[in-house]
Amino acid sequence: MRTRTLALFLSAAVMSTALCGCGGQGTAGTGSDGANTSQTGGEPPANELTVGIAQDLGDSLDPFTMTAAGTREILFNVYEGLYKPDASGDFIPALAEDCAISEDALTYTFTLRDGVQFHNGTAMDAEDVVYSFNTCAATSVDSSLSAALADLVSADVVDERTVAVTLAAPNSDFLAYVSSVYVVPDDYDGQTTAPVGTGPFRFVSRSVQENVILERFDRYWGEAAKVDKVTCKIYEDGNALMTALNGGAVDLVCHLTTSQVQGLGEQYQVLEGTMNLVQALYLNNAAAPFDDVRVRQALCYAVDVDAVLDLTADGHGTKLGSSMYPAFTKYFDDSLTDLYPHDPEKARALLAEAGYPDGFSMTITVPSNYTPHVDTALVLAEQLAAVGIQAQVVEVEWNTWLTDVYQGRNFETTVVGFDAANLTANALLQRWTSGAGKNMISFQSSEYDALLEQANAITDDGDRTSLFRQAERVLAEEAANVYIQDLADMVVINKSLTGFQFYPLYVLDLSQIAWTA
């Protein structure tokens, strides 16, 4: 009898410890969430914003050497140039009040805005601007930007509020490049880890793989940001990001796929834009059999882009026909998207003509960390099988992709998306000129090279545009790549938030976002 009581006591003790542990911890967890994040109720406890981001700011935070699109996207709120892009793709004066361009289009005279302060409290002057131009020209890892700045003869201080920039040759895109030259203080050297700029938000802290914290900059020269503090929470794993969304731990997440935004909680609304990427099956034009234009065209006919969109994104996304996405309204040529309708018969015929009546085997190399690209590759492999091409999808890490595929050019085909570093046609098209170091697919076309060279030599906007459009057509007709789509960019945002804007660039403007309640 005694033993039985003891055993009962024992097991009861075990149970109650377990239950206490459970209940106690659980309550503590829920309590803390309410205090820390603005969720469920819709009304924030403080004027704060929690943004979920899928990529850590895992590179240098220096304005000129930062590389990751995810880093540029967030630091857009911290750094500013003399001009900055707005949501419609125009360049508006930012740190400069005005810009006078000389008759020969070689000298740009910027009048600086008065009373602009850096986040560290020092005032911005002409010296800082000149320093920024020179540092950017020397260190930028964006080769189209550094190429543009290579034409820079000099950047000079005229007086405290005036800077004159002289070019060696006219460049009609110069203001676009100016917007990428972020202005930083000339006496601060901690940019790689603690950025200091002039933007509406100042950088507070970052915790590796956890968060990046920004705070409203109260002495901002322009319209102040609406929220006091932004916490960018990092969820590098797609599933973790989904879990956080389902639990209501974040207020805003960009760059989601259509399948990810299904079945979300009531507190969210979904906005749809485009990613501003050229997603394609990029073909190594230097490797057999892709050195044969008929094979490349056959691939284009074999691929059913509508079905790709249906299978990967429920039909969302914008079809593309060349290396240009629709946010560039001026340059985008809609007619190219139907150049190669889905036609397996024609694909087979072209393959037979090229000497592959039974098809061939190929590999599609995809960076494993980009789910949309992996998904697209899987669907493409299925579609190519229908015309006798055995495509094997090989996932590689991003770094391996960069080393082997991008720089080593050691691949057959690959699915990725290229974005534009700035709002110029060159940012997307220069890449495919014969001698370009970034011409990963080794595309060779003297016609294409000539068109681009011509376009960059003239300043008349209409003529330039038509030359760029012709160049796009060459890419499409030569079937340089199998162009697929500009991915749908689904944004999930708390219903009580307003002011979110889609940009034609890969940036997230936090300054206009506000709580309505």
Partner: protein
Amino acid sequence: MKKRLSGRAAGPTNWFLYLGAAITLVMAALTVLGCFWTPYDPGAMDSLSKALPPCPAHWMGTDNFGRDIFSRALQGMGATLFISLCVVAISGAAGTAIGAVTGYFGGWGDEILMRICDAITAFPSILLALVILAILGPGKWNVIGVLGILFIPSFARVARGEFARCRTLNYVKSARLMGAGPWRIMVRHILPNTAPVLLPAVSIGFNNAVLAEASMSFLGIGVGPADASLGRMLSDGQSYLLRGLPWYALCVGGTIVLLILGFSLLGEGLQRRKPAF
């Protein structure tokens, strides 16, 4: 029936053995079936039947490409079992050989090999596998190679213990007196007697191999998307789970659990069968 004092004593029916064998046999039969026939082409996509719940046409439902999950699970089980089989074959053979030699002969060779085994086991094997797979890149054969090598110490240790113990037993001594060479003694005399100890080790090894492969594929460093293994499918299924579509992860996770459960029951049963030393 009176309470038994010792749980080790085999009861009238060794349920562990029978149940484990039954589960393992069924899973193996399904896997073999999956090699020759699946209800649907595991790779076939269909935009009209995306993300369906389980129904008579699709026993486990379909994924976001409209692929039949049951067909893919059959195929995935094949990939997982193939990898585990190879891993156990490699590590079992090499481990037993190493353990036999070091256990029988002893000496400084034994000391060095056991220190190396200690060094390997001192570190969680999945961490080691991570670092090594980072060298080789993901892929089926790389996973097999890495796990095959990492599992050697566990077999070597068991085999060494047995061979060292048997070396001094009378039947070995008499064989030696009759002029049998050391290799003959090891292979013909001792090896068959180590079966009661080695068999459970094999089943535990299988168990661990399935678990390790699933974990690595779950982390995305295992096999590629072409040969979908169960771990990879589970990682895919996790995102559905959160969207209120739980069948994918539950079916695939359940399959992994059944596979491991079968082996672990089998191992338990085999251990219970062996007489106490």
